[in-house]
């Protein structure tokens, strides 16, 4: 019996340690998925019993069916591509300009004097408020949409790059100077890498701004793109299509975030939090 008792004690101890964890296992496994799934089920049930009319909100099953239908017919991919091209073009211009202006203002006093006041004035004008003016200037084609996205994404890139450059550790610059690095070598080896984390924050902002602006810009008389699909669906009260498009916007946002996270994980590999993983 003594042997049994001795064997039992550590066993009992283990069970005691495990028991509380098992009690909360719902929150550990699938806990975060539970409430969305319950909501979906309630939504589906509400639609089935007629509590939620289809013209108010289509049932999840109907949305899924529409999604598959639109994907197979090519309607969704082709319009998604149009929207994606708008974001890409706008980002290319906006991020490019933000980088150029941030470098000029960050690296030279003259550049700061020339650029920064203008950028601060620009900051006070919400990009979307320029929509009417851009329509007057560029008409209702692709140009105002791309221009709005570009305009909205300049500032986050500019500001974060500029402040990243200005907050460089002067002690590191001193060290680089003491080893005889030229001004350009100092910028390349010390200033720019130290501004990179801040720049990536700016890039992440720019991506989320670009999708926000895209949604509004596509309401301007578009003949293709996600916004066009939504506008059309509104006219025919096809709430299933509207919900599909909202989902695609959300996926675009998640994809943009994933992109920057991937860049960060590669570019900032030297950071201890990433190194230790």
């Amino acid at each position: 019996m003594a042997v049994v008792t001795i064997n039992d004690i550590p066993g009992a101890g283990r069970r005691q340690a495990v028991a509380p964890a098992r009690r909360f296992s719902i929150s550990r496994f699938g806990g975060r998925w539970l409430s969305p799934v319950v909501l979906l089920l309630l939504w589906e049930a509400g639609s089935r019993i007629g509590l939620i009319p289809e013209r108010t909100l289509a049932a999840p099953s109907a949305v899924l069916g529409t999604l598959i239908e639109m994907a197979i017919s090519g309607e969704l991919p082709s319009n998604l591509l149009v929207s994606f091209a708008r974001v890409a073009a706008g980002l290319l211009i906006g991020v490019g300009l933000g980088l150029a202006l941030g470098l000029v203002a960050g690296l030279s006093r003259t550049g700061e004097l020339a650029v920064d006041p203008l950028m601060q004035i620009k900051r006070t004008i919400p990009a979307l408020a320029l929509t009417p003016l851009f329509i007057v200037w560029f008409g209702i084609g692709e140009t105002p949409k791309v221009a709005l996205i570009a305009f909205g994404t300049i500032f986050p890139v500019y500001l974060n790059l500029y402040s990243g450059i200005r907050s460089v550790d002067l002690r590191l610059l001193d060290a680089a100077k003491s080893f005889g690095l030229s001004r350009w070598e100092q910028i390349w080896h010390v200033v720019l890498p130290s501004a990179l984390p801040s720049l990536l924050v700016g890039l992440r902002y720019a991506l989320s701004v670009s999708i926000l602006v895209l949604v509004v810009a596509e309401q301007i008389n578009a003949s293709a793109g996600l916004g066009y699909l939504i506008n059309n669906a509104r006219d025919f009260m096809r709430t299933d299509i509207i919900v599909v498009c909202l989902m695609v916007y959300a996926i675009l946002g998640l994809g943009a975030d994933w992109l920057v996270r991937t860049i960060e994980a590669r570019a900032l590999i030297w950071r201890p939090s990433i190194v230790e993983q």
């Binding site: 002690r171 060290a175 680089a176 003491s178 080893f179 005889g180 690095l181 080896h189 990179l196 030297w270």
Partner: protein, 260 residues
């Protein structure tokens, strides 16, 4: 000079070295606004000489080091420093986004940067941390990388700015030995700025005491390193008396005088 004494006070303000000095300062003065940081300083450093510069906070030793390192511009002053010089700072100041070997080879001209970095890192006992990220190094390791980064340039003048002040005592003693062996092998002139009198006595050929921008004392230590225990106590008290200067009137010694 009394040979038994092991150290001697140098009377003349300017020591005359035998060969052409690598560093030569005459009447060097530095002011920031109304404050005179360095006041008419004369300094010669001979090739291969190991000098310790002692001084309290605000004595001007950092300013002097920055001048010798070429970090502060000197216009219209009689200052000669060699082009090949390197600095080891109190904080290692490694670029965190470059692996260790790229930090060491930073700014080296020509090919074989990695090989040269590897050789220098092996000399400081870190041949195995070539590809490590600087933020994963311990304080002592980071300082050894900083030493390797300085040595890989084969400097004529090596400037050490309180390089071991942030290290624990044991690591500090190991670093003293490492610095001495590297110095014997490469023979740069070394100027170490420190406020640790023991460190100055253990390492240097010549100890300078800087106060209010002037060199107020200069001691030459002729006894070999390792055989300095016999007079270290007396020399320390002497140096401390200069550092504690009578004319400050605050009555507080910057360093506790250890009982012998």
């Amino acid at each position: 000079m009394d040979a038994r004494l092991g150290f001697s006070t140098i009377d003349s303000a300017v020591h005359q070295p035998h060969s052409e000095p690598v560093v030569r300062l005459r009447g060097f003065t530095r002011r920031f606004g109304p404050n005179t940081i360095i006041d008419g300083l004369d300094l010669d450093i001979a090739p291969g000489e190991f000098i310790a510069l002692l001084g309290r906070s605000g004595s001007g030793k950092t300013t002097l080091l920055r001048t010798l390192a070429g970090l502060d511009e000197v216009r219209g002053q009689d200052v000669e420093v060699p082009d090949s010089r390197a600095v080891v700072f109190q904080d290692a100041r490694l670029l965190p986004w470059k692996p260790v070997w790229r930090n060491v080879s930073l700014g080296l001209k020509g090919d074989g940067g990695r090989d040269r970095a590897e050789a220098a890192l092996k000399e400081v006992g870190l041949g195995h941390r070539l590809d490590a990220w600087p933020l994963t190094l311990s304080g002592g390791e980071a300082q050894r990388v900083a030493l390797a980064r300085a040595l890989v340039r084969e400097p004529k003048l090596l400037l050490l700015d309180e390089p071991f002040a942030a290290l624990d005592a044991l690591t500090r003693y190991r670093m003293h030995d490492l610095v001495l062996s590297l110095w014997r092998r490469h023979k740069p002139a070394v100027l170490i700025v420190t406020h640790d009198v023991e460190e100055a006595i253990a390492l240097a050929d010549r100890v300078l005491v800087l106060d209010k921008g002037r060199i107020v004392a200069e001691e030459r230590i002729t006894a070999p390193r390792g055989e300095r225990a016999s007079f270290a106590g007396r020399l320390r008290e002497k140096l401390l008396s200069y550092l504690g200067g009578d004319d400050h009137g605050d009555g507080v010694l910057p360093f506790p005088v250890a009982a012998e």
